[in-house]
């Protein structure tokens, strides 16, 4: 038996979290960082192995009475999500290095919770067994709940509860679906199993035998992912959560955890229920468009920087969902790539806003003004992060947004036309935010509170993230080489419903 690299990858941060439960007060942050970097190193090692064609899949009996397996494996999408996770965690830890604690909510507890969350998220992305996926999917809520509730602003307890209840509500609906699908899998195939690979044909067969039930089961999964990804109208927990949580927590929440929503739509809704997904696609496209526009408009209207970024994310999640439900390999590849890029670009934006807030002591747009004169480096980073958010060519998000729009155009040009409005509005909310906070005369409060420009630590946080954004912007093939084959496979799954990539020139049907 070969070395279980994937399990090892997921366990490294968990061990780190365990070590941080010991009384190691003085060196806690150092230990946490070491484990985060170690995880990142293992993650890169896994990438190399995957690229080299190694078989990384692991499978061992876990609960024989249910037919549940400890099954982990990677595909193109899972790999990029794993890499995103292992890359963001050290950045977040570094950004929150100076985190103040209240009572028992020490930086040590923060680092331990982040590492625990990292471990659970990695397993979510790698799980190849639906029960295992569900288990970790729900389990990620607990450390995130404590991260928001323990380290946030004044209304953190409320925000944490709101986050948890929304997510649990979605998750429980999905639980009913998973159980239903399991019962049917036993009826149809005669074996008790939760393995994703055993279920792929099941949904297709079930859709022929019992189309209505299939739609309901698919809806159970989809509702969980819609809440998770947040799409309008079940998005309201996200602005509340990011407003109260520390910026580092928000990066993990929006950058990684919310991606499970779009990840799940592809991995479960498309994979297991191609017919039902085709049936629901028009509704999802409309929801995606509403999210794109509503998120953008709400971002323009936001007076709080952290809420503003949350709304931009809702708009961006709209793009990702649009890419998925227009069913083209370009769109799906773009959507997966968008998931990665959005992770980095939101991380940059949240963290630099965190640096601004730590100086000014406020997240209100109106409390800033003329920052560029007192902190030019921070302003530059802020501008770069913002431009990445509005998908400027040269930034990685441009590539993915273009791919999503190209995919949508090939299927339904009208949809693409509406979605493009989102990119225009993105320019409005980003540049307006920049203008109101960074330019203009220096306000007295900013003059007083901005005593220093970006510190070395802050530069080390922002530098790598911006470098990745630019690198993927200019050489997107680093990621797309992995993602494109995955998108092709996804389209093969959709071939059951005669959905294939539109040929050039055939678009407007």
């Amino acid at each position: 038996m070969t070395f279980p690299w994937l399990t090892f990858l997921g366990l490294v941060p968990l061990v780190g979290a365990g070590v941080l439960c010991l009384p190691v007060k003085q060196i806690a942050r150092g230990i946490g960082m070491v484990f985060a970097l170690l995880t990142a190193a293992v993650g890169i090692g896994v990438w190399v192995l995957y690229a080299g064609g190694a078989t990384l899949t692991e499978k061992a009996a876990w609960i024989p009475a249910f037919g549940a397996w400890w099954a982990v494996g990677l595909d193109g999408m899972a790999l990029v999500m794993v890499l995103l996770t292992v890359a963001l965690v050290p950045v977040v830890l570094l950004a929150e290095w100076k985190l103040g604690g209240r009572g028992r909510w020490t930086p040590q507890a923060f680092f331990a919770l982040v590492l625990a969350l990292e471990s659970l998220s990695l397993f979510v992305f790698m799980a190849q067994d639906v029960l295992l996926f569900y288990l970790f999917f729900e389990a990620t809520l607990i450390p995130m709940y404590f991260l928001i509730g323990g380290f946030g602003g004044a209304r953190r307890s409320f925000a944490a509860m709101k986050f948890l209840l929304f997510s649990l509500a979605g998750g429980l609906v999905m639980l009913a679906s998973v159980i239903g699908l399991y019962v049917w899998s036993v009826r149809l195939t005669g074996t008790a199993t939760y393995l994703l690979s055993d279920w792929t044909q099941l949904g297709v067969q079930l859709a022929q035998d019992n189309p209505d039930l299939t739609k309901w089961l698919m809806a159970g999964f989809l509702i969980a992912f819609i809440v998770k990804a947040p799409m309008v109208p079940v998005h309201t927990w996200l602005p509340t959560a990011t407003e109260e949580a520390t910026p580092g927590t928000s990066v993990l929440l929006v950058g990684i955890l919310d991606k499970i929503g779009t990840f799940g739509m592809i991995k479960f809704c498309l994979w297991l229920f191609p017919q039902a997904s085709a049936w629901v696609a028009p509704a999802m496209v409309v929801l995606a468009l509403i999210s794109i526009i509503y998120g953008a408009v709400a971002a323009i209207g936001s007076t709080n920087l952290l809420r503003l970024v949350a709304y931009t994310s809702i708009s961006h999640f709209g793009f990702m969902v649009l890419g998925i439900y227009t069913f083209t390999s370009t769109g799906i590849a773009g959507s997966v790539f968008y998931m990665v890029n959005h992770g980095f670009s939101t991380a940059a934006l949240f963290l630099v806003i965190g640096f601004l807030i730590s100086r000014r002591g406020s997240a209100l747009v109106t409390d800033f003004g003329g920052v560029q004169k007192v902190a030019p480096v921070l302003t530059g980073v802020f501008l770069m992060a913002g431009l990445s958010g509005l998908a400027l060519p040269g930034m990685s998000s441009f590539v993915s947004e273009f791919m999503v729009l190209a995919g949508a155009w090939a299927r339904q040009p009208g949809v693409a036309a509406v979605a493009v409005l989102g990119t225009v509005l993105a320019a409005v909310y980003i540049l307006r935010m920049y203008q109101r906070t960074m330019t203009g005369p220096v306000t007295p409060d900013v003059e007083r509170t901005f005593t220093a420009d970006a510190s070395t630590r802050e530069k080390w946080v922002a530098g790598p993230v911006l470098a990745v954004i630019l690198l993927l912007g200019f050489v997107p093939n680093i990621a797309l080489n992995v993602i494109n084959p995955f998108a092709q496979t996804a389209m093969e799954h959709m071939s059951v419903v005669q959905v294939a990539d539109p040929k050039p020139g055939e678009e407007a049907k």
Partner: protein, 520 residues
Amino acid sequence: MNPITAPTFEWLQLAPVLVVLLAACLGIVIEALVPRALRFVSQVALFALAAVVAFGFLVVSWNEPKNSIGLMAMGSISLDGPTYLMWGALIIFGFLSLLIFAERRLGNGNSSFAASAASVPGSPAETEAGVARHEHTEVFPLALFSLSGMMVFVAANDLLTAFVALEVMSLPLYLLSGMARRRRLLSQEAALKYFLLGALSSAFFLFGIALVYGYTGSFDLGRINDAITNPVYGAGLLYTGMAFLAIGLLFKIGAVPFHNWVPDVYVGAPTPVTGFMAICTKLAAVGATVRIFYVALGAERWSWQPLLATVAVVTMALGVVVALTQTDMKRLLAYSSISHAGFILVAVVGATSGSLGQLTSFGSILFYLVAYGFATIAAFAIVTMVRDSTGEVHAISGWAGLGRKNPLLAGIFAVLMLSFAGIPLTGGFIGKWAVFSAAWRGGYSWLVLAAVAASLVAAYVYLRVIVTMFFAPPAEGVTVGRASGLTWVPVGLGALATAWLGLFPGPLLDLVDAASIFIR
């Protein structure tokens, strides 16, 4: 004239019950003969020994299935996989509860029981007894009697045995409920309520037995099943009898609308007794219900399934919704226990036998009960530890900031709450998963949806406790008492088992799966 044949009795196979019963009787002898100063120690040693020996006999019989599966004691006790599992669970949980009974360090040398339960509250006699440091060591034999009743109740293969067992199990509990050291009036009120309502429900149960006997001509579960499958009369008598039997059993389970006693009794009874009732009584009542409904009334399941499904929905809904508004920890746990009764009934309704390597309904019920039992025993043990100068603090507001005062204990309690809520990586999650699958397989997908909705509300209930413990400013004057190992063992074991069952439920699931066939 027929010769009189001596009744057969399988001493070895029935030894686990006999040991517990014998220990209870010996406990009475200890009360009479052993000097006061030594009684407490001897009682503790006795019940510990009894638990170990009973469990040993259980394991011996279990490993020799050839002689130990079948109808015993002239067909009145049915020894099968479910019986053995239930006995094992009852002995373990009974032992853990009795450890909490024996805790004296928390109360500065006093146990949770009144020094003289017979004295009028507030009277000089009460003060005298307190000063003289009298204590009621009878609680141990009483609990053992009750435990032996429970063990017979889950194994009873005829309705009369079941009724006798029900009474043996209940009467000591009525008495134990009234013996709290603090808030004695509340405790006595609880005991009286429990007794009156319990007696009423027993009467219903007995009447049900009579009617079913009238219809089938037998008390024997197997013969009742035969009579139902070959009906001679109209079924009116049977349905009425079935309903009355159900009332008696649902009362003990604590299902709505027969739940009214649960909150008052759970609050009034001494906390160790509450823990004992919350697990062992529930386990026994569910075990007997499943046996009677599956074995004797299985052929009529189309008539009782919709009824029990309705009861399950109402129980879950009422349990979780009323739990939302509770401000008292023990009351909250009481309503939580009601809602768990509802979740268990969800699986009872499913009534599926194992096929294609899937878990049976009974298997999932038992797993749920074990996961719930470990969490419950630890939770009530922790309730005894959170104290101020007057004793246990039951107001949830008093638990505020416990995470800062004692992160370990608050952390454990949080894990238990998460298990109650059915959050993954805890035993409660796997238990929920198992009972929901059982119900869906039995064709009750709508019941699963209702249970899912109830789970969401339940999650809020338990999370509110976590919020209070971790995110609220600490309450004044409340501390975590210095408990001895007697309390820490159930707490630690409960927490470990909860986590273990969440991560590696395989072995226990295999066990309940292998041993979930009822015999007739």
